[in-house]
């Protein structure tokens, strides 16, 4: 009586069309798109996509049956005329009820089984049988990503480098708000939650560059908190690590880069480290980053410092401002001049002294900005033969600015801002008056060799390391440099 053949022809065609439409829907998610969850490049993401497609086809079947029944019933049993014969007033059918309770249970069990295997495979730590696990600590900051490689003592930001076909175990952290770490083509997301470190493993099985993005609403620049994952062959990855331990060649004297370097040291180096290549600089950068955070959080309104991306070998990167723009001289100049033209709400523009202007743009000339950009773009692994332990002097010329940037700027600003230690503006004038009987030279040298001898009021002893290891030449150079800060 209610055979399908009784269906209107148009309805039958409509039902037949649903399958190709469903296939079309899946195809509409172009696997080539940068953040498509379908064109996967790793086992975690591809397992997740397979599970999705499995559930999707079950859903398609249920969808056809349910929607088909709704449409069929609505058309087949619609009131055709004014004739108003009452239908049979049935109260229901218990057997049917039991049937359509049990069938969904069975379907859900079918979905639950692969779900469980995937949960325990993906969320229970990195596999031990797929090769040596690379450890990475990923830290979400408002609004950029920091990546630390504890095994290799490398720190970088916004561009994550990993080797192909090797599991990577992530420790996900955040100090400020909740972020979420997500590289759709390689693995589903896991949140970065303050006070709650999370773990995630992923593995890329194709060399290439992949898009990542913060997936948890984290404030004003959430839309612009992106990153890239660069998957290398094992050799290329090792080369990249080696490069991260090779200092940049110092810019030629008198060049635009050299001028940029000085400007950078004066205006940017309180927050951005540019030289984390030497052994020991890894631990130092971690404590500096903590110090910047402490500085910001202790005085959010007025702080002159804030957590900031490490810019070591910045010139090797391909993107700017956490994966938003291609990195080149032009975009970098635009960025330094007015970050909000690229990314609204950056902490840099809110806090760095050079942006304390009426229109929020940097108080630097176009030439100066261009020089800084050139300097930053020149930051690449150098010829790399010298052992540049902490920038220690090996005889010959000592670059005091370089020394200061590398060793001191993380804790001392060249302005009035407190980071860990006091700001050094005017130190050249004041050094001679600080302690009776010590000249400026003597006081400064003493402070470098025995930091705890004369602690400035309000600062804690025991924090500043003893810098004797730099060697006499370097200390002399630093003292001379400090005396120029009027």
């Amino acid at each position: 009586m209610h055979r399908v053949s009784k269906l209107p022809v148009s309805l039958r065609t409509a039902l037949l069309l649903i399958v190709p439409v469903a296939v079309g829907l899946l195809a509409a998610c172009t696997p080539d798109n940068n953040q498509s969850t379908f064109g996967t490049a790793g086992p975690v993401a591809s397992d997740q996509a397979d599970l999705f497609i499995f559930i999707f086809w079950i859903a398609v079947v249920v969808f056809i049956l349910v929607e088909g029944a709704v449409i069929y019933a609505s058309i087949r049993y619609r009131r055709r005329s004014k004739s108003d014969k009452l239908p049979y007033q049935t109260h229901g059918n218990d057997k049917l009820e039991i049937t359509w309770t049990i069938i969904p249970v069975l379907i859900l069990i079918a979905i639950a089984i692969p779900t469980l295997t995937d949960i325990w495979e993906q969320q229970n730590g990195a596999p031990t049988d797929r090769g040596e696990v690379l450890s990475v600590e990923a830290i979400g900051h408002q609004w950029w990503f920091e990546f630390r490689y504890p095994d290799h003592e490398v720190i970088t930001a916004n561009e994550l480098h990993i080797p192909v076909n090797r599991p990577v175990g992530f420790k996900l952290e955040s100090q400020d708000v909740i972020h979420s770490f997500w590289v759709p083509k390689i693995a589903g997301k896991v949140d970065m939650v303050p006070l709650n470190d999370n773990y995630l493993w992923m593995m890329a099985d194709e060399v290439g560059e992949y898009y990542g993005q913060c997936a948890e609403f984290c404030g004003i620049a959430h839309a612009h908190m992106r990153f890239r994952v660069i998957v290398h062959t094992e050799e290329d990855f090792n080369a990249w690590v080696a490069g991260m331990h090779t200092a940049s060649d110092p810019p030629a004297a008198g060049s635009a880069e050299a001028s940029g370097k000085t400007l950078f040291a004066g205006n940017c180096s309180s927050c951005h480290t540019t030289n984390s290549t030497a052994p020991g600089s890894y631990a130092q950068e971690i404590s500096s980053q903590q110090a910047r955070w402490n500085g910001w959080v202790s005085d959010i309104e007025n702080s002159g410092i804030v957590s900031a991306p490490n810019l070591t070998h910045f010139g090797t990167r391909s993107t700017l401002a956490s994966g938003i723009k291609d990195l080149n001289q032009e975009s970098l100049v635009e960025w330094i001049t007015d970050p909000s033209s690229i990314k609204i709400g950056t902490r840099m523009q809110d806090h760095a002294a050079i942006y304390k202007t009426a229109d929020g743009k940097a108080k630097l000339t176009d030439d100066e900005i261009s020089d800084i950009a050139k300097y930053l773009l020149s930051l690449k692994p150098g010829s790399g033969t010298t052992d540049q332990t902490m920038g220690a002097s090996t005889g010959g010329d000592v670059d005091a600015v370089e020394l200061f940037t590398t060793n001191c700027a993380a804790c001392h600003s060249t302005g009035d801002d407190k980071i860990v230690g006091p700001g050094l503006a005017g130190i050249g004038d004041q050094a001679g008056n600080r302690v009776d009987g010590l000249s400026a030279d003597e006081y400064l040298e003493q402070s470098l060799r025995e930091p705890d001898a004369y602690i400035v009021d309000g600062f804690t002893p025991g924090l500043m390391p003893n810098w004797e290891k730099l060697g006499d030449d370097s200390i002399d150079a630093l003292v001379t440099y400090l005396k120029t800060m009027k």
């Binding site: 993401a45 709704v70 859900l108 708000v177 939650v193």
Partner: protein, 633 residues
Amino acid sequence: MTTNALTFPRFFPRPQSETGIWGWIGTVDHKRIGTLYGITSFLWFLIAGVEALLIRVQLASAENTFIGPEFYNQLFTMHGTTMVFLVIMPLSAAFFNWLIPLQIGARDVAFPRLNALSYWVFLFGSLIMNAGWLTGDAPNGGWFGYAPNSGVTFNPGLGMTYWVVGLNILGVASIAAGLNFIVTIMNMRAPGMSMFKMPVFTWMTLITSVLLVLAMPILAVAGIQLQTDRVYGTHFFNSLAGGDPVMWQHIFWLFGHPEVYILILPAMGIVSEVLPTFSRKPLFGYPFVVFAGIVIGFMGWFVWSHHMFTVGLGPAANTAFAMSTMLIAVPTGVKIFNWIGTLWRGNIQLNTAMLFSISFIAMFTIGGLSGVMHASPPTDSQQQDTYFVVAHFHYVLVGGALLGIFSGIYFWWPKFTGWFLNEKLGIANWALMMIGFNLQFGPQHWLGMDGMPRRIYTYAENMGWEGSNLAASIGGFILGFGILLFIINMIYSRMNKKIAPADPWDGRTLEWSTSSPPPVHDFDEVPQVKYRDDFWFKKHPETISEYYHNEHDLVVEEDAPVGADDAEEHGDDHGGHGGIHLPDKSYYPFILGVGIAIFGIGFLTNTYVIAAGVPIFIWGMLGWSMEPVNDPT
């Protein structure tokens, strides 16, 4: 008639006016309060719609600069908050108010003045919540207010304080309304109406009310904690002092998931009334639909962590919550199958109300199926916080709750007003809404699978998201035009009144047995109930044996000891609101509401303002408690 000798000095006479602003402020009539809820929440609906359209304009193209991130964050925060707390919940409350006394054969709710208080507190709470738009400081931390982004450290300014204070005030209104409807439904049923003879809408209202009463206090706790954090510097969610951000999420979603059912169950109740009426046969499997509702209301408490699959609770917790989440799909499926069973072999009249209800089944099914997709944590890890989830819950809350509510509006409009809404405009309204809705939210499924996160105010050109976003934006405007047609329909039908009889649809439940619109006292004579769908079976007695072919059914259900006979035994109430009551009007609910609103303003401005609210609050309380329900005549 009161026996309490205590009196409180009156500064003005008890309200008498039936009309004008004072008539509305003093009203305690459930029908007029229902109308107030309906109008207020419809206005918020229009505002939330404008917010949504601004969002859609901004997202229509990549790298759009139509609005900036500050404004965008306020827009999506307030769109979500408004739609949940100021539109769907109070629109449901409008139906509760209008229909529950009528469906159970009562003359009003159990506590008419408490009912008025709920409305006024809701109104003031909604105004405080939105006050930020006037100061340019609208809430911007998302409707979910995740800590620590909602705390003062990362979100200084008043924005989220408006949000949390408004939410706390709204919570008072919701709890009061929930308590009132629990007591009304449990205690005020017409003689003979046992629990399993109640209309399904009444059942769903009861379950919703229980959920409100149990879930809103949890939100209140989260709200109070965030509020003291923001206003007084406590550390509940201050991660710098050890306050755990995950704690907020647990508390919020422990409220938040029952909340989802608070939003959808009333619409399910509406659909369960509309489908039988226009199929001209009883709801298929009534006890199963009711029981499925109860199971949903119960299991809704054990699935909250599926909102937190990516928070890092570990594989064991994710397994447990994946299982419970999948399980809750079963009773939902049972409901859908029973609705189809109701259509089956019916005599279906495809008018506007029915089309909305049938669309509810169709669209809600899609939302349910996508829900199963992220009940699985591995697939959810790709979908969480993407547009896939946005698509999912819009299919549930627009395709589900709102379509159900529109169905209810067209269905009961003649009862509310005494005249019909125009059918041709109605069908055009339905068609535009359906086209627009699907064009807007359909493509968002694959935007999500293509990796577009939620809550981003802009996106890059090279992501392949532009086409779908443009389609969604166009769909948004078509949906908007659909809503506009509804407004036009209301105006047109008002100007060309087609008068409705008491029972225009050959209805099944008691509200159709009284005039349209009902008299102030609802029923001239208190109905005596014998059957489920009592009104129908009394109109069509020849069909009784078709429904009750098993004598056993009737006997079991009739033994509920309800009636006037045993009334003497518990005649211990001195207040005079006995079985039939038609309470006098009162200003005190409004006054008490003002007092509570001033407390809220105090938290936003200055502690001394709170003190200013105290005398008004006490005035309202004392005046209320010493004012007899009915003045002696």
